[in-house]
């Protein structure tokens, strides 16, 4: 398993407390870069000015820092592309009661 895949797996434990679905299944994690001793994650929020945004960001940072204590971890927001429900995984869609994506 590559380190990026391990990071993605670890991020499954960062859960949106409002929806009860993790940030990966919600499609909020846009990019994971692992180079040398650096881990960089770009993620977004489900809505503009989401008050959970800073909490999710801090939780992702804490989660990765505990998993890779010898790495420099950076997690930042990006709002391009804008998040849409089409980014939710099949599992997330099922939890929200949405039909499978076409």
């Amino acid at each position: 398993m590559t380190i990026a895949a391990e990071v993605a797996n670890k991020l499954h434990s960062v859960v949106d407390p409002e929806l009860g679905i993790d940030v990966v299944e919600l499609g909020l994690v846009y990019e994971i870069l692992a180079e040398g001793g650096h881990l960089h994650v770009s993620m977004t929020t489900t809505s503009d000015h989401c008050p959970m945004g800073d909490i999710m960001l801090a939780a992702a940072r804490a989660c990765l820092a505990s998993g890779w204590p010898d790495h420099h971890v950076s997690v930042e927001y990006t709002f391009e592309p804008r998040w849409s429900p089409a980014m939710i995984s099949e599992l997330g869609r099922d939890m929200l009661g949405l039909p499978p994506a076409a």
Binding site: V15, P51, I55, S66
Partner: protein, 436 residues
């Protein structure tokens, strides 16, 4: 890659939660006072106990909830810093003393105590306005929510300034308080302050909680702008006691903005990704029929007393007030309170653990049955009071009071429930996946 500033921190627990926890006492008080409804209730809208009941709901429950919720929203969502938490706590303390004093004084029609309570209320509203206006001025995120909250704040100041002059009218007989003046004051408070604030806050919360794709739209701007213009027009003309055609026209104009808002909300709901509605979605959906019925009954009240006894001219106005204040405003506030309180408690208890250890989710902090009971009772109470008013049945109005009081108790229970230890320790799906 476009970076936007991360959302700001929530204000301290002690600034927001006391207001939200104490607000339902206003609803319980109003419900209990409705048990004392008598023949005067159907005759005059300014009967002392009716004035007390309306202010117990409007100032005690609705305004207190909105103040608490807006301290949270202004800072955490709009990025406008509350410049003094101490001043906010002082404002809350003054408000929660002033409201019961005013309601008690109005019930007894003791103008000296009403004047004292009015002065305290003026202090509370002034402090709130200073805190909210500076936060709005510093807000890093501008948009329709910011615009609507600013309009609502203006509505609050005008409505309150209007009401404050009545201390002089009652005490020194400066001018007679006519039905037109009462109507203007009530609409400035109900629609100019509570209504516009609720419309604008819903534009943020409804898409956020229902996971609706946010597409740029002019509809919310049009809805809030039209409502603000209409209520200004309404309050400017009504004091001059216009005839029925003008009153009906003004009532119709007043329905346009909320109708545009309701259209946008329904359209958004149809696009939502969260198919199973949570308490906020259900409360919003329950509020919409109340708004529609309030519009219909409001036009009836503007006509006069259609299909009812001319000797009891307050019937339609009471029904209109019950549907608008108890039903529409009430249901919306139930939804907002029951989302904000568990969210803040979750932040207080679990934010620091998130990402480091499995933590409960917000749904583990709530009692869904109690939430639905509170919503159901408050909506049912408003329909019962409205039906009783239209039918001229004091029995129904008193029954509505009992239901309102029970709704207020259920709401209090649902809010306090979130303070209990999380009743589930199940791990959310993501946490389970990461540990396997």
């Amino acid at each position: 890659m476009t970076a936007r500033p991360a959302p700001a921190e929530s204000p301290p627990f002690s600034v927001v939660l006391p207001l939200l926890f104490l607000a339902p006492i206003g609803l319980v008080t109003a419900g209990l006072l409705l048990l004392n409804a008598d023949g005067d209730t159907l005759v005059a809208i300014n009967a002392p106990h009716t004035v007390a009941i309306v202010h117990a709901i409007a100032l005690g429950w609705a305004s207190t909830t909105i103040m608490g919720a807006s301290y949270q929203l202004l800072q955490a969502v709009l990025g406008g810093h509350i410049f003094s938490y101490r001043l906010a706590r002082l404002q809350a303390a003054i408000h929660v003393v002033a409201v019961p004093l005013f309601v008690w004084a109005a019930y007894r029609w003791d103008t000296a105590w009403m004047a004292l309570a009015g002065t305290l209320l003026a202090t509370s509203f002034l402090l709130y306005s200073i805190l909210a206006a500076t936060a709005l001025a510093r807000a890093s995120r501008r948009g329709v929510v910011h615009f609507g909250m600013a309009m609502g704040l203006i509505g609050l100041l005008v409505a309150f300034g209007f009401g404050l002059t009545w201390v002089g009218a009652l005490y020194h007989l400066w001018f007679p308080i006519t039905l037109g003046l009462l109507s203007a004051h009530a609409h400035l408070g109900l629609i100019g302050w509570l209504g516009i604030t609720i419309l604008s806050v819903s534009e943020q919360l409804v898409p956020m909680f229902s996971l609706t794709s946010q597409r740029p739209s002019r509809l919310p701007w049009i809805a809030i702008g039209l409502t603000a213009v209409a209520v200004t027009l309404f309050a400017s003309v009504l004091p001059f006691q216009p005839g029925v055609p003008v009153r009906v026209l003004l009532a119709l104009v007043l329905t346009v903005g909320p109708a545009v808002w309701a259209f946008g909300i329904v359209r958004g709901f149809r696009r939502r990704s969260r198919r199973k509605l949570d308490i906020h979605g259900r409360a919003t959906m329950a509020a919409l029929p109340c708004l529609l019925l309030a519009a219909v009954v409001g036009v009836g009240a503007a006509i006069g007393t259609p299909f009812t006894n001319d000797a009891e001219p307050a019937r339609w106005l009471l029904a209109y007030g019950a549907l608008l204040l108890g039903g529409f405003v009430g249901a919306t506030l139930v939804g907002n309170s029951l989302k904000i309180v568990p969210f803040l408690i979750w932040i207080h208890r679990y934010q620091r653990l998130a990402g480091k250890a499995p933590v409960p989710v917000i749904s583990d902090l709530v009692n869904v049955r109690l939430q639905h009971l509170a919503l159901g009772l408050i909506v049912l109470g408003s329909y019962t009071v409205a039906a009783g008013s239209l039918a001229g049945s004091l029995l129904f109005i008193r029954a509505g009071g009992v239901i309102f009081a029970a709704g207020g108790v259920s709401l209090t229970g649902a809010l306090w429930w979130s303070l209990l230890p999380a009743h589930s320790t199940r791990q959310p799906i993501g946490a389970r996946k990461a540990t396997t």
